[in-house]
């Protein structure tokens, strides 16, 4: 698979001015992240709040400027484009958000919102636009007559479909999906996940799918990258990463997924403590303060582990070969 997007050593720090002019340490939201997304492929970026996954998505679309690093889209560095080139790129790279309502203008009809991109990029002659809008609404499973209505008239699931139709309007090849189903009820969530899979197949789309829920991600992602405090700690093909996680954080995250099946009651690893602050992450391995690995040592506190191939994934743990599986972790080790 040729990669459509290549991100290398992406860094995004947020510097706060500090109350009364005092300098505060920057928040290291993204701290050296590299990954590739192939054509027609879904890479999921998974992690808990504050891990930097959304910052990655926004930075590669230049919705915010990176601190350093590069993002090559079809070989061109997104971060060095001028305004005109960036506008061209926005046609190829789109984003859908968790809350589509906040990104829809309440005073613009659904039809006008979907048509906006087509008009800006002159993708169709004016008389053709209503037909295009109707086709897009049908493609996302909505009634074409909804074009005349306003966003507030729709449920959360319908709004997400409108957000998807609007993203598709400019015929993108790549879509950042930022927690697109997190705010939806389970039955609607399943509908939207199926829709995203179908659209990917029909249009050959690539997705960067940002989410916190591994069970959701399993439905849609070909590969998964797990983030913790601004870094990718493990990456691999979906089935391999879920079946044989090698980073202790992935193991803990996986064991914490609530599975609706009392019979399959798996060993739960309850991590101790809170996520450390991203403005002062622990030295060495960021995860060492909460890690349950029986071989945890001084090395974890001093030396940053690099991502390296271990069995079927790449993992950033000094002792990844002997990371216990959830079933092997005894209560005493937690």
């Amino acid at each position: 698979m040729t990669s459509l997007l290549s991100v290398r050593d992406l860094v995004k720090y947020y510097t706060a001015g500090g109350l009364f002019g005092r300098a505060t340490p920057p928040v290291r939201a993204v701290d050296g992240v590299s990954f590739d997304v192939g054509r027609g492929e879904t890479l999921a970026l998974v992690g808990e709040s504050g891990c930097g996954k959304s910052s990655v998505g926004r930075t590669i679309l230049r919705l915010q400027e990176p601190t350093s690093g590069e993002a090559l889209y079809e070989g061109k560095d997104v971060f060095s484009l001028d305004r005109t080139e960036l506008r061209q790129l926005r046609r190829r790279m789109q984003i859908i958000f968790q809350d589509p309502y906040s990104s829809l203008n309440p005073r613009m009809t659904v039809g006008a919102a979907i048509a906006e991109g087509i008009e800006i990029h002159r993708l169709a002659a004016r008389p053709e636009i209503p037909g295009r809008v109707a086709a897009l609404l049908e493609e996302v499973g909505l009634d074409p007559t909804y074009a005349r209505r306003y966003p507030h008239e729709f449920s959360g699931g319908q709004r997400q479909r409108i957000g998807i139709a609007r993203a598709l309007a400019v015929q993108p090849a790549f879509i950042v999906c930022d927690e697109p189903v997190s705010a939806l009820d389970v039955s609607v969530q399943a509908q939207v996940l199926n829709l995203l899979s179908d659209l990917q197949r029909q249009r050959g789309l690539s997705y960067l799918f940002i989410a916190h829920d591994l069970a959701v991600v399993r439905q849609i992602a070909h590969r998964i990258a797990v983030m913790y405090l601004g870094r990718i700690v493990e990456e691999g093909p979906t089935d391999q990463l879920l079946a044989n996680p090698r980073h202790p954080y992935t193991v803990a995250l996986l064991s914490a997924v609530p599975e609706p099946d009392p019979a399959a009651r798996r060993a739960r690893i309850v991590l101790s403590g809170d996520l450390p602050s991203p403005s002062s992450p622990p030295p060495g391995c960021h995860f060492h303060t909460r890690c349950f690995h029986p071989m945890k040592s001084d090395r974890c506190r001093t030396e940053i582990p690099v991502l390296r191939p271990v069995e079927t994934t790449v993992a950033a743990c000094h002792y990844a070969e002997s990371t216990p599986r959830p079933a092997e972790v005894s209560v005493a080790q937690m």
Binding site: D239, P260, V270
Partner: protein, 329 residues
């Protein structure tokens, strides 16, 4: 086991168009026993949160609890209480925690002051004793370095820690029942696991009953003793947890299970319920799930009561009487 709480034919109404009223909670009955965890499960708009608020007469105006509704707490008729008597029930006998602890905590007082306030409101103790008690409570809910945390303000704590503080405040009054409305929905999964462990251990140690309101079947499995699934203002299926998970029988419950993505087992395309939840002002006639039900048949045009499926397992669907009727999905 001793029956702590009984709700029968609970109905909550709000004014609708013209002089009409609509019923987001429409005939809900359940009971809770000492030390038991009952989960009320459903999607947004099913009436589960209003049901829990009704237990303490906390329905926001202009909503009201309809006459004919019954809530019994031991020997007390809760719906007959007013003013001071009602305040003695709220918190003291039935405690509540909500999804977002930040909105329930006062930002300008320390955590310690807020727990102490709760203790002093319910018990005649000295403030020194109350502070000692607050310290124990923070320990009990698993807050590290509790003496230091007593001096913290809410904004200085993480979401998981704030939810622990809320639990500690609820526990300060030593309630017999804790109502937990989506207590972990705003939290990350690893933190969610921590909070659920805390609730579980409190239940075992204190014999406190828990009414867990949630949309997530996953957190119910292996924790709740019994499950009641709500749809369109009614309980549509109820059973002991293992029975419900082994044999989900109402087509809505089956649809929910088919919609939930799984982390284990074979990977299948999700099979979601078609359409979306109807608005409370427009509950369908007959079986309320009929317009979305893949197994609806002619009898579904009449509203079914809760019918037995097997011992300790009931559902609001005529298929309980005529299992060969509806088409299997």
């Amino acid at each position: 086991m001793t029956r702590l709480l009984e709700a029968a034919n609970l109905r909550v109404s709000f004014p609708g168009a013209g002089n009409s009223r609509f019923y987001p909670v429409d005939g809900v009955s359940f009971s809770l026993e000492r030390g038991e965890m009952l989960a009320l499960v459903g999607e947004s708009g099913c009436g589960k949160s209003l049901t829990s608020l009704a237990l303490l007469q906390l329905i926001p105006s202009p909503g009201r609890i309809e006459s004919g509704s019954v809530i019994r707490l031991g020997e007390t008729d809760v719906l007959a209480l007013k003013g001071e008597e009602l305040r003695r029930i709220r918190g003291r006998r039935i405690g509540m925690i909500f999804q977002d602890p930040m909105t329930s905590l006062n930002p300008v007082f320390t955590v310690g002051a807020q727990i102490v306030e709760g203790i002093l409101a319910h018990f005649k103790v000295s403030s020194a004793e109350a502070r000692q008690r607050a310290l124990q409570l923070l320990q009990e809910v698993g807050i590290p370095d509790p003496a230091e945390r007593l001096k913290s303000y809410p904004h200085q704590l993480s979401g998981g820690m704030r939810q622990r503080v809320m639990i500690a405040i609820a526990l300060a009054a030593e309630p017999e029942i804790l109502v937990a409305d989506e207590p972990t929905t705003a939290l990350d999964v690893t933190v969610q696991a921590q909070i659920l462990e805390v609730l579980d251990s409190l239940r075992t140690r204190r014999g406190m009953a828990v009414l867990l309101i949630t949309h997530d079947l996953g957190i119910v499995a292996g924790r709740a003793d019994r499950v009641a699934v709500m749809y369109a203002g009614q309980i549509v299926e109820e059973a002991a947890t293992p029975r419900l998970f082994a044999n989900p029988s109402h087509p809505y419950t089956q649809g929910l299970f088919a919609s939930v993505p799984r982390i284990t087992g074979p990977l299948k395309r999700l099979n979601p319920i078609r359409g979306s939840v109807p608005a409370p002002a427009a509950w369908p006639t007959g079986c309320r799930f009929r317009p979305r039900c893949p197994q609806a048949f002619d009898r579904s045009e009449t509203e079914p009561p809760l019918l037995p499926v097997e011992p300790e397992h009931r559902m609001r669907c005529w298929l309980a009487e005529e299992p060969n009727q509806g088409r299997r999905p």
